[in-house]
Amino acid sequence: MKSSGKIGFEKALVGEGGKGAFLFSFGIALILFGLSRDSFQDILSGLWRIFIEPDYLISDYMDVGGMGAAFVNSGLLTILFTSILVFLRVHIRGISIAAVFTVAGFSFFGKNLLNVWFIMGGVWLYARSQKEPFVKFIYIAFFSTALAPLVSQLMFGFHFPPYLRIFLGAAAGLSAGFLLPPLAAAFLSVHHGYNLYNVGFTAGMVGTLYVSVFRSHGFITASRIIWSTGHNGLLFPVCSAFFLFLAVAGLLLGGGRSPGALRSLWKHSGRLLADFVDLFDFPATLMNMGITGLAATAYLYFSGGDFNGPTLGGLLTIAGFSAMGKTPLNITPILLGVMLGSVTKDWGLTDPPIQLAALFGTTLAPIAGEFGWFAGVLAGYIHSSVVLNVGVLHAGFNLYNNGFAGGLVAAILVPLFEAFRGREKR
């Protein structure tokens, strides 16, 4: 039997236009929802407050600028980042959905229409310096916006003259973006792809470096938690309906083929680079995004969590990475590990950092997918401790703090699991 030639994307059930339209529609839906929550004037003033507020962890934009402005900020960034992919003629895959949803999610607590571009510019400068097209670094650029709070802090968080603040903010953003691309590839081999938020791990390292320099010059930012509550009555049904819509849309688009493809998808470990759109097509991926999103929403609600900017960011990031690695089967052990931690450790599941640790701790889902449930529970249990201790290193300037902690946990656990797994598997 002989097979040759590459598969054409025209064979996919949903074409390029359809996947692009999905991302654009998602952005438009976010904007429309935001516009329905507050008056246009309030949204504009809210966006301004979001721009000028230092937004290191944890800064809930629903509290800073209001719910309407937070949703509009997220929707506009979703549309802009999708437009970049379309402009660069990038094929929309699982990683594209993961990247755009991650930007959308973190635009509820740290990324805004002002601060992301300096990091992106730094990555662009790196591409220029290497004489390579920017498109080759596009996903690193998208994920690197994790360090956007560096820009806001320097521009608006210190009492320097305005020209100096703007210069320092821009310089920090550009230089951080410039450093990240070579490091992101290098750090992948530290955790062997078992930490889905790889750039978060890298950004944590770079953020630690920057904050160390700040601290040694006497610039120490106090930690804080800006965390809104009281939105569960509105956002729980909205999130549930959105994820249910994704699951049903995937089922209908697949024309009967989605359930079978979904079963195959759920057998995947999820280790990077598990691009579910390429591997199992878009409809099954959409179903997985919906069902995994519903599972995470149910966890947040029934564990007594708050639906607000940061947790909405967590839910959208889980849904996005359900196009590249996460499934209900591999995130559940991680969530159980965090829940187990609430029994033996001196914190509760409703503490804001723990709510985020549970949702974003699913960055370690591939450990459960590859090494089994026990390994996943153990990873979640350990992660929930590590993540509370590493944030101080980068002072919350790396929005993907769980990616940073997850990288450390995976780097230690994976070689141990590999060493003790059955010989035939090695």
Partner: protein, 116 residues
């Protein structure tokens, strides 16, 4: 790409890893470097009847090259192998040809990766 040599060696490593996990006893690779790029020829046997795994391997090798993902993902190939990284080999190469002799239990793969 700056790491062209490393990428090619990891492609070979990944496939060797894959075939040894399939019970191969003899794995041969040949890499030819030209002005156009690298041609990678793999010949391997495997143990037992593993037709479905090889069909899946062929499907993954036929994934179109994805230059926009290379910087993000190339260092994962040839790492700890779970047999799923064949997808990475697929998106790192421009053309592929797979010949599978099921009766003899042998596979011949020809991959080509253009210079950027």
């Amino acid at each position: 790409m700056r790491h062209e040599r490393l990428v090619v060696s990891r492609i070979v490593s990944e496939l060797m890893n894959f075939f040894f996990s399939m019970g191969a006893r003899e794995f041969q690779s040949r890499v030819v470097r030209s002005d156009e790029g690298h041609e990678i020829v793999i010949e391997s046997d495997y143990a037992g009847s593993q037709g479905s795994k090889l069909r899946e391997m062929t499907r993954l090798l036929r994934m179109p090259r994805a230059r926009e993902m290379e910087e993000y993902s190339w260092s994962l190939s040839g790492d700890i192998s779970t047999g799923q990284e064949i997808y990475l080999v697929g998106i790192l190469t421009d053309t592929v040809s797979v010949e599978h002799d099921e009766q003899a239990g042998k596979v011949r793969i020809v991959l080509f990766r253009k210079w950027n």
